[in-house]
Symmetry: C2
Subunit: 364 residues, 2 copies
């Protein structure tokens, strides 16, 4: 299998002189997908019917009628990171595969449950599982994917696998905490920027952090190395989420697969919103008035494009858009800096750096 | 702490001459509760608000208004088994405590999700969590309890803890398979006795089996010993469920906390029903006709006591009640026999035997 990387055959050069512009991001993501998808599919096949079918629908392998489909399985940033994680510890990328699959299983467990809790009807351009197969299947298959993640790691049977499972469990608990915070924010008028960052760190940072440590732990890395890799992953997750929050308001629906002004329609207290509300000034105050009225409005569901566009314009005018873009760059910088703390092969470092760059410039 | 057992001070006698009539079941269950509840409460306190409160409500520690309550925490058979499990491997009962708590957490994760999926509004004489705190909290807190179970075991950090977590994960997967089967049975006209037993083995047998092996594994038992203890637990679980199925139709609502004819109201394809349908003869055929008509009826929800009583009488007349009572005794016998395969202290064996006896004669 060509990963687009082994062929470069560069001499080993000091870490900070490797040029990350030579990294082929598409190939890196494709390698993660290619190595992890067969293992993911085999794991899902262990599920009793009809859970196997429901899970296959969720992953985009079949359509709602059960016919084979070639769905959009997502960007696959996490599997790519898990393989690089193994390489960062000096192991072969394949060592990270069970970790990559376990992280994907946990991520998709959370998507299945969150979509149901949030009432989201669309994901990756398709109807969500609860919409197609009902709420009970969304709950049940989510539970099954979570259990499967632990099963896959623990059946390796090594001390390292136990440590990896423990890190995954910690990340999963944070993920759940983050979802609890996210839900509670919807019922509150004001959320501080710090509260929003904490929620996003739990909901997005923790699992991305785990993706970056899990391969290394499976490859025998010590806790200090794993913690440092997690610091990179955590801040990368916050950068990722800041970009997601921008796309959730100003993203191109054709690229994101979501509605226009998606997060505004869902009254999400995302970073641009909380930053705009915290900024003060006329636009910030006008936005606060509008959102307070929206919270009590019975007509919210029939709002026009123009009404959401007006709110988005106020968020931008109050500085929420710029602040969030800067926050993405700040978190990106902290992530990159964390890589200094781990002694890893320079090409792995270049790839982790390039992935971080990719995360902040992506359009979907 | 008095456990009601250390004081007997009998000489060690051969296993099969210990008289299990001297075992104080109430004290045995109380010991499990006393040793595990503080650890369970401390674990639940780790949850971020409002999940800690929702979980405390579920466990009966507070009421719907958040006031302290002294709720019915269930029979606590599983914690009692987990402590005996440690003793069966020659360890102190305390060694089984993290296992007891982890099993309770998984059991309650499944109750939270199952009550929501099944639309059950009452449990242990109280409104269920989704009814009081909403579906999102029932999903979220269930997820959190499941994650907490793994966290609690894995933070022990030993190889034994990893093995225990793996067994718990396997049991959890079976639990989920069983719930999937149970849900699918509701939409089917006919379910065979074997299918029903398989479902009940997954839904009840697997976790009870894990309760009986987890303490031993934490205490250093080898896989053969753990497997044999699981055989006892699995068949005990099937006996337990057969009795539950009898109580689900003919139980005293004051004792069970459920409605009269509870399982019939929920169209459950439980053992007495499937055995009656499989029996043949006039009563069996009449029952089949009635249930087929019920499945299409729009008035089912307004059925009177008499209509359910008539169905229960047909089940009994067709032999479903007797067959299920016999099945409980058969599974009980197989469970007891499995104990021959493990070399354990005779008083532990007597206690496991007495607990098995208790399970088949209980009224709630």
């Amino acid at each position: 299998m060509s990963t687009g990387m082994e062929t470069r055959g560069e001499p080993v050069t000091p870490a900070n002189t490797v040029d990350d512009t030579t990294v082929d991001i598409a190939a890196l993501l494709e390698r993660g997908r290619t190595l992890s998808t067969p293992v993911l599919k085999a794991a899902v096949e262990r599920l009793a019917p009809p859970m196997d079918t429901v899970a296959a629908y969720h992953f985009g392998w079949i359509d709602a009628q059960g016919r084979p489909a070639d769905g959009d399985g997502g960007k696959a940033v996490r599997p790519a990171l898990a393989l690089l994680s193994a390489e960062a510890a000096g192991a072969a990328p394949e060592v990270g595969v069970p970790g990559a699959v376990a992280v994907e299983l946990v991520h998709n467990f959370s998507l299945l449950h969150d979509d149901l809790m949030d009432g989201d009807e669309q994901r990756r351009h398709r109807d969500t599982v609860w919409k197609v197969h009902g709420p009970a299947q969304a709950i049940l298959v989510g539970d099954a994917l979570f259990a499967l993640a632990n099963e896959l790691l623990l059946e390796i049977g090594t001390v390292e696998a136990g440590r990896a499972t423990r890190r995954l469990t910690t990340a999963t608990r944070k993920l759940i905490d983050g979802q609890a915070q996210d839900i509670s924010f919807e019922h509150r008028e004001r959320v501080t920027v710090d509260e929003c960052l904490e929620m996003e760190g739990n909901k997005t940072g923790a699992l991305l952090a785990c993706a970056v440590s899990i391969g290394a732990v499976l490859g025998g890395a010590d806790d200090r190395t794993a913690d440092t890799l997690e610091a990179y992953g955590y801040h990368l997750g916050l950068a990722f989420q800041a970009v997601d929050d921008l796309l959730g308001i100003w993203g191109d629906p054709d690229a994101t697969g979501k509605q226009t002004w998606s997060d505004l329609r869902q009254r999400k207290k995302s970073l641009p919103v909380v930053a705009a509300l915290a900024a003060g000034g006329p636009a910030s105050e006008r936005l606060a008035e509008l959102l307070a009225a929206d919270a009590k409005s019975n007509d919210f569901d029939s709002f026009s494009e123009q009404e959401f566009a007006a709110r988005a314009a106020l968020i931008e005018e109050a500085g929420g858009r710029d602040w969030t873009a800067q926050e993405a760059r700040r978190q990106h910088a902290v992530a990159i800096e964390a890589l200094d703390g781990v002694d890893m092969p320079p090409q792995v470092r270049a790839q982790l750096t390039a992935l971080a760059d990719f995360v902040v410039v992506r359009k979907r």
